[in-house]
Structure formats: C-alpha cells, structure tokens
Amino acid sequence: MSIVTVQLGQCGNQIGFEVFDALLSDSHSSQGLCSMRENEAYQASCKERFFSEEENGVPIARAVLVDMEPKVINQMLSKAAQSGQWKYGQHACFCQKQGSGNNWAYGYSVHGPRHEESIMNIIRKEVEKCDSFSGFFIIMSMAGGTGSGLGAFVTQNLEDQYSNSLKMNQIIWPYGTGEVIVQNYNSILTLSHLYRSSDALLLHENDAIHKICAKLMNIKQISFSDINQVLAHQLGSVFQPTYSAESSFHYRRNPLGDLMEHLVPHPEFKMLSVRNIPHMSENSLAYTTFTWAGLLKHLRQMLISNAKMEEEGFKDPALYTSWLKPVNAFNVWKTQRAFSKYEKSAVLVSNSQFLVKPLDMIVGKAWNMFASKAYIHQYTKFGIEEEDFLDSFTSLEQVVASYCNL
C-alpha cells in the first residue's frame, strides 16, 4: 500500500528530499547481503510505498511539496532531478512568493484558507495515483510559520476529507536555544492542534540529532544537511519493508497502519520517538562488527538506563504501563536485507514518557513569555487570540499530565 508524503515549509522540504533520497539509495544499494530474490522483493515493496513509475523508468516520489516561498522547493526539485535516480512530480508543488514570517497565525489563518483548494487538489491528484492508498506522512517543523501553521491547517483538512486514512506527522522539534524566538508559541499551537487531528506524532529533536552527529559520527562542522541525513536514515529504517511475522513470505503491506496499531493504543498518547543504531562515520564502518545482542542491548539502554540482554529485555513488564501486556506492547519486525551500508542495524520506535520532559520545558517557556504578553500582537493581528493560546496550553498540560500518570 502506498504512502503519500506532504512536505511543508523549508524544514519539511529539506528533510523530505533526504528521506526519499535515503529510501531510494538504500533500495538500490549493492550491499543488501541477501539473496537476489529477497532484494527484488524488497525493492518492489519500497517502490510501491513511496514511488510511482514513469515512462523512462525514473521513479517519481509520491510527494506533495508546499512552501510559501519558492527558493527551497526549487532547490529540492533540481537536486532530485540531478541525482538521476529519482525525481519529484512536475505538478506536485505549491508555492507562493511571500513566506509566513515565522508566524503560526499567518500560516494557519491566512495562507491556509487562501490556498486550501489548490493544495488539497494537488494532494488529491497524488492520492488518486495510488492503487491502494494507506495514508499520509506529513513532514513539518514546529518552530517556523509555514510548516507549523499551514501544516496544522492542512492536517486538519486531511482529517476532514480523508477521515478513513491514517495520518502520521513527522515533527521537528527545534533546538532548545535560538532558531526562532517565537518557536515556543508556534510549537504549542502546532502540537495542541495536531493532537486533535493527527493519528500519530513522530517527533525528532534537533538537539538529539545534533548530539548523534557530534558524538557518534564525529562530524566536526555539523550542517543542517548532516542533521537531515541522520534523520532521513532513521526514518528510512522505520519505513523500509520488513516482514509481518516470523515466518511470513511477504513484506508487510501496510506499514502505517501497523505502526499505528501497535504504537498508539489510546488516543491520549500519540507522541512517538525513534532511536536507531548504529550511527557511525564512514571511516569506522569497515572496522566494526556487530552482534544482535549488542545492538538490542544498546537500544534498550537508550530506552531506560538498566541493562539486560536481547529481545527478552524488551519483554519486561516493568517497562510498560499496567494496562498493557508486554506481548501487546512490544513487537519485532525483521528483515534479512541490510539497510544502507550497515551490516546490521536496529531501530526502536516507542511511545513513552521520553518526550514529556522536552514538552514540559517548551510549555513552561511559552507560558513565561505569554505572561508578559510579548509578541502576542503579532498573532492577534491574524486572528489568533489569547483564548486560543490558553486552549493550547490547557490541551498540552493535559497531555503532560496523562503521560506523567502512567
């Protein structure tokens, strides 16, 4: 089944490009370390999910690119075309000239309604191209204006128009310090709205990925391109084909559906995070060997701080809340086929209290700023009033409380 990706804003589009690039280059990788038949099945499954075929054999990404100013989209279109391996659809973009000024209110209340019809049309055309459509993967940031504000608006529309399809939002959590000054306001507005209209929120923190680049991969001068590539690698390892059960012969058909089923048992708990290993610099790859025990142990350590071995480690009931049995809460998806240059790799997607602390911090900072009424006039100018802020605060305090009570 196919997934349609919607890329919003500079962040969404830059990451979206890296994701498709990672998916395709893994799919074409010569280091699959498995049989040819296996490899072909893998490639076919990947293609069906994320790409549609064109006449001269260049796969077209199943993606819709949206931004309120043209520079980034143009860049991504040409980068994809230059790769020669894949490209974006010619008519799959929507752009304006103006930008959203980092203003959630502008993205949500001005751009949203103004361009609703055009954007939804492009999305509909992309959905119609799918033989069997599974759902949407929406990539956006929380800190800016387009990704956050327009992203929230679009997700709401998707909920209205495609209520039977699944929606997973990939949200980028900004650095704690200083990308955008009003990032905390934009973040709480985004999260509170998405909690209502999205099915799952897959959250990636810039700070966390920055640390991976610095400490594990030893990159000296880290650029956004490095960060986006690590992110794409993580997403790729989640979304690339895996088997549905121990001895099944087919690759899983509905990754989105399966992910949601296992990871979002209750609508109050939608925040997911991803941890993936290994991450190493190119140079070290040739000199390392892995064991599964080691990898899984490492993953579990990343989840909590205890140390136990193997899959057994994940079946410990102490890890899970009282109303879930480990057998329901924990699932393993496997494939023989190696991912992207790593002989063995593992990724853990979890719905846990891991994100409560960062969420709590953002709510706290936004609240402090709100108390002094700083920047509020920029939002009320476009129809987002103080009551809307208070609603958002309330919803998010609720989420924090729910997670804390687990």
């Binding site: 500079q10 830059q14 100013e69 043209p70 520079k71 980034v72 143009n74 860049q75 000239k97 103006q98 930008g99 000024g101 980092n102 203003n103 204006g145 650095y175 704690g176 310090t177 200083g178 990308e179 955008v180 000054i181 009003v182 920055h210 610095a214 001068q221 880290i222 650029s223 956004f224 391109s225 960060i227 709510v363 706290g364 900072k365 609240w367 402090n368 700023m369 108390a371 002094s372 009424k373 700083a374 920047y375 006039h377 920029q378 605060f393 309330t394 305090e397 609720q398 409380a401 729910s402 009570n405």
Partner: protein, 384 residues
C-alpha cells in the same frame, strides 16, 4: 523570492540608495555570471526594490519621510515597512535637526514596522578604524581592497576623498546583508517579515541596533576557526555598532544573527553558547535568538555576520535627542519657520515629544527588570 521596494528619500536617502544599487548589482553579478535576470535579482530589480529613509536634514526632508511611512501604511497595510534612519550626531550642520528628528520619530513610532537607527559618528569611527588597519602596514597582513565594508563597486572609479561615500557604503552593505537570505539560498532562510515577527515583542519597541562584521578580509585565505569566532565576538562590541550604543552592557529584548557564507549551524550554536553568558536578556526571553544561514557571502568575503539587536541601549540616543529638542523648544527657537507651513501647529511638537517620552519610559521600565532573578510562573493545573 520575496520582492522589496526601496524608497529613497531626500539627499541622504538618495545618496545611500545610489551606493546600494551599485553594490547590489556587484553582488548579484558575482553570483550570476551569465547576467541572466533570475529569481534572485528579481527581489530587487524590476523586469524592483526596502524602505530606505534618511532623517534629520532640512524641514521638507523631515516631513517627506514621515509622510511616506504613513502613506505606505495606508496604501499597503499588509506590506512590512523597514526604515533605515540616519540620526543626527552631536555636531550637526543643521541647527533644527532636533525638531525634524523628533517630528519624524513620532511617525516612525506609529507607522513603521521596524526602524534601524544609525548615526554618522559611528560610521565615521568605523571608517577611521578601517583606515588605520589598511595604512598600518603590519607585517604579513594585507587587506583585500574589495572586501572593505566601505568600498564601492569597481565600476565607479571615484576616489574616496569625501568620507560620506564610504559611510554610505556601510549602510548599503547593511541593507544587502539584511536581504541576503531573501535573495539567495541557504539552509535556514530568513525573510524581512521574520525579522519583524521575531524582534518586535511589543509594537512600540521596534528599534534595532545593527552591527556588521567583518569590516575587511585579510588576503590570508585559510580562515582558522578562531577568526570565525572573532567575527561573532566583534558583532557585540560597541565599536562595530552602527549607532553609538553598547548593547553588551544593556538589556536585550531579542537578537538576530544573519550569517552569510561558509558557516554551519554548529558554528553558529557554538558561538551563541559562548557569548550568551556575557549578555543580559530580558526574563521572558532568555533564549531570544533568531538565526539565519545564507550560503552566499558578500563579495570579497568568505563569510559575514549582521547582528540586529532589540536592546535598551538605544535609550541614551533618544534621551539625548529629546534633550537637544527641549533646549531649542524651550526658547521657541526657529519654531516660526515650521508653524508657517500649513497643517503644522504647536500641538504637533508637544505630541511628538510626549510620544518619545513614552517610548523612553518603556525602555526605563525594562531596564528596571535587569538583574532581577528569573521566576518561573505557576502553570495551569489540570484536574485529572
């Protein structure tokens, strides 16, 4: 590509504008070798143009600039109005400049989205600093001539006998850097409207002190990381500000760093971490940094930084202006020239000065919160 219109007003405005267009062309020529009219160029050149307004000159000038701001707001309410304002220095050739400035300020207070105040004395000091460096002939250091923030494009072969040319070039460079992210690609873009959104927490407090670094590039091609860090440090020193102000020792409401060239997010973050402890931010905006990364550096540089600070250090400038105004106004000196003009009344003056006083008071209130401990306010509690 967002497009901007430049409005040049008065002698000052037009002279600066002239330098601006030369430098803008030079910059685009460096990037666009074939001279094709592309998206980047279309941000300024029509197949158009930010608001640049000169302040403090003859009576007519003062009126025109403020009228422009108000007219622009009426005609185009959705469009952002950025004003680069040259404030008169201590020794000024125009006696009535305080009147003009205060009257203009009232309009700027109400109708501009953002004002970048600049004064001639600071520009002059920067030029002297550069001259000293260029002429010092230190062993092993030679300065690339085109890289001077004061140099004009090669096309105009005029000699810089008059300091005004060099000074105007600095302002022109400021404008180029301000709009670089809107014109060229980068990994973290920033448009003009984002500047206003992030740096103006309250509508009245929209005065941004700017600084440009580096002032010149040495011909030594390998820039060690320390030099990159030096660029960030310099941006906060009072010698590099385009207004007589010392942001480091006053209170920041917000700060923007617009970086151009081969600088990555990790360099930017490292420097923010490094400089943060020595700067004071208002309690509700402790992490008040807005950043942008543009891949294309200015001509002759490998990287550059424009810092915009919404900082209480503008207060002394305004207080001084008010003082000079009061000295003239108390005696009603030269007032009759203004009152002769239709539509001008004494109330215009009193309103203008009280508008300025209110502004100064807002800054005072903010300054009073300096050094107070940051308190976490009680949050909403939810019944489960």
């Amino acid at each position: 590509m967002t497009q901007s219109v430049v409005v040049q007003v008065g002698q000052c405005g037009n002279q600066i504008g002239c330098c601006f267009w030369d430098l803008a062309l030079r910059e685009h020529a460096a990037v666009n070798q074939k001279g094709i009219y592309d998206e980047a160029i279309s941000s300024f050149f029509r197949n158009v143009d930010t608001r640049v307004v000169g302040d403090g000159g003859s009576i007519s000038k003062g009126k025109i600039c403020s009228l422009k701001a108000r007219v622009l707001e009426d005609e185009f309410p959705e469009v952002y109005r950025f004003v680069t304002s040259i404030y008169p220095s201590g020794e000024d050739d125009v006696i009535t400049s305080p009147y003009n400035s205060i009257l203009a300020m009232k309009e700027l207070n109400e109708h501009a989205d953002c004002v970048l105040p600049i004064d001639n004395q600071s520009l002059f000091d920067i030029i002297s600093k550069i001259d000293l460096m260029v002429n010092s002939g230190k062993l092993g250091t030679t300065v690339k001539p085109k890289s001077l923030v004061t140099s004009s494009s090669g096309a105009l072969k005029k000699q810089h006998k008059k300091p005004f040319d060099a000074m105007n070039n600095i302002v022109a460079n400021l404008l180029l850097n301000l709009t670089s992210s809107a014109r060229f690609e980068g990994s973290l873009n920033m448009d003009l409207n984002e500047i206003s959104m992030n740096l103006v927490p309250f509508p009245q407090l929209h005065y941004l002190v700017s600084s440009l670094t580096p002032l010149y590039t040495l011909t030594d091609v390998n820039i060690p990381p320390r030099r990159l860090d030096q660029m960030f440090s310099d941006a906060f020193s009072k010698d590099h500000q385009l207004l007589r102000a010392d942001p480091k020792h006053s209170l920041y409401l917000a700060c923007a760093l617009m970086v151009r060239g081969n600088v990555q997010i990790s360099d930017l973050r490292r420097n923010i971490e490094r400089l943060k402890p020595s700067l004071q931010f208002v309690s509700w905006n402790q992490e008040g940094w807005k950043t942008s990364l543009c891949s294309v550096p200015p001509v002759g540089h490998s990287h550059s930084l424009l810092a915009l600070a919404n900082n209480t250090c503008v207060k002394p400038t305004f207080m001084e202006l008010k003082e000079r105004f009061m000295r003239l106004y108390k005696k009603k000196a030269h007032l009759h020239h203004y009152l002769q003009v239709e539509g001008m009344e004494e109330s215009c003056f009193t309103e203008a000065v009280s508008s300025l006083s209110a502004l100064i008071q807002e800054y005072d209130q903010l300054d009073a919160t300096k050094n107070m401990p940051v308190q976490d306010l009680p949050r909403l509690s939810i019944a489960m």
